[in-house]
Symmetry: C2
Subunit: 301 residues, 2 copies
């Protein structure tokens, strides 16, 4: 496959298996796409689907997923730990191979227009596809969540959607955009005091003075305080640096890290870089990895 | 390629480039083998060559490498930080794919016989190919090094070679065997006191009460104390556990780790496991690695 786009829609359903399955089926059957991963979180009450393919089928599959979610999810009934404004909450396109960011931006705009027109769902463009600088930031678009947006969408000029009506139905609104690959990385603390997770999130995230490529919020998940993050550029802000900063901040409150998790997919380099960091490896080349050498032979190198 | 054996001969030359190149050329030109890596260390005065291929050409290439080393290296002139008894010091066969350990043991015995007969070099079988339990251990065979062995080989029944004459020429002796994949892992300390490296090596290695799959010695390399190790089973004794034990032992002497290095090749899993360990990742599956997913698609999965 020469051209490969990834799409990682987040849906506001993490508990009803049949709903999640129906949405994934709508995506998988829309055309020649491959569903790589489905992660559901009951506390977040949210599922993250990862699929890839060539641009055209990926765009179509994204539309079918949004449509199915709008049919099956009623945002008036939805409760969960994770901020959200819609059934299909956020739908990013990610250039993986042979595709430019500009093409992903076009996909987002074309899809947004169609979702607004055919489904009557308000659409906000975000990330690289944003039409206003402040809307590059997902958290800004999602402020007040579904309930807050419902009150303001018709009256607040700041919340006029890019496409679709300025009226919120039970499917809520959908944020569509384009972005580089990101890593969903969550760190659990040995406390149930969510305020500590919120303080640490504030300390490490870019928006309030922290690391450049970190978005973070504090949540209570599985009875534990969790720092829930998106790492938007793992080469510039590598996972271990984030981990160690959280560790220091946690020590400030006398708590420690019990575990972490990666939700969905992660580029291999992000993990190899973490190993190199912690093992303090000097002069290491990824050429030294046995499997990379064998692969080269297999390809006739 | 269905059947793949790795051979990792260690030669007692790490300084004279033309000698190292001639040995590598002898290996590469012996048949259908692929030289994956050549690592030379000036302080060790030693080079580690890694090559792979099907069993028959690998065995032939190993012979040609030993022959060339015997021609070009004079052990009476050799000085270096690393223990050694011969020009081609140690030659292990490692089963990688579609080959059993028993087949590698056969390769070692057949090669040993030929080296003894055609080159007149004393050969000791070690590792899984050992003919006496104590000779499973490379360090045991190498005790006293070239100089010590020279004195005793003719008289000490304990040092009778498995093949070849009980007389040591300028090429020394060669240790040939079979073993599982190992990782050559060295840790540098912020001290030039080699006694501390030796004490730490003693603490972490299996032979003196340490971790089950660690062999270690203390050396002075690049003016720094170095704990030089072979990790012989990275699944049972993972790299990060070794690293952290060394860190604690070093603290005992008020010193710390400045860096580490991997010499030659390392299985990818060993690094991924290190990342998972240090990031305290829970519930992580290697299926979540993006490249593994893409590879599956590429193969039509």
């Amino acid at each position: 496959m020469e051209r490969l786009v990834e799409c990682v829609p987040n849906f506001s359903e993490g508990r009803r298996k049949e709903v999640i399955e129906a949405i994934v089926r709508a995506i998988a059957e829309a055309g020649k796409v491959w569903v790589l991963d489905v992660e559901s979180d009951e506390d977040h009450n949210r599922s993250v689907v990862t699929f890839v393919g060539e641009p055209e089928p990926v765009e179509e599959a994204a539309f079918q997923g949004i449509k199915k979610a709008a049919e099956l999810i009623d945002m008036d009934q939805h409760r969960g730990q994770h901020p959200r404004i819609g059934a299909a909450d956020v739908v990013p396109f990610v250039p993986l191979k042979g595709v430019t960011m500009a093409e992903c931006v076009e996909m987002a705009r074309r899809l947004g227009e169609r979702v607004g027109r055919e489904l009557g769902i308000p659409v906000y463009l975000y990330g690289e596809a944003a039409t206003r600088p402040e809307r590059q930031d997902l958290a800004y678009i999602r402020r007040g969540e579904y309930e807050g947006l419902k009150e303001k969408i018709a009256t607040d000029p700041d919340r006029v959607p890019d496409f679709g009506p300025a009226v919120l139905g039970k499917a809520g609104a959908t944020v569509i955009g384009a972005r580089p690959p990101l890593i969903a990385f969550n760190v659990y603390l040995n406390t149930d005091d969510v305020r500590i997770a919120k303080e640490i999130a504030k300390a490490v995230r870019h928006s309030s003075g922290g690391l450049r490529y970190v978005k973070a919020i504090g949540l209570l998940v599985k009875g534990k305080a969790q720092v829930s993050m998106n790492l938007t550029n793992y080469r510039q802000t590598p996972i271990p640096r984030v981990m160690e900063l959280i560790r220091r901040e946690a020590a400030r409150y006398g708590v420690s890290i019990t575990s972490s998790e990666i939700v969905g997919l992660v580029p291999e380099d992000a993990l190899l870089d973490a190993a190199i960091y912690y093992l303090q490896l000097e002069g290491f080349s990824k050429e030294q990895i046995l499997e990379k050498k064998l692969e080269k032979i297999r390809r006739g190198g």
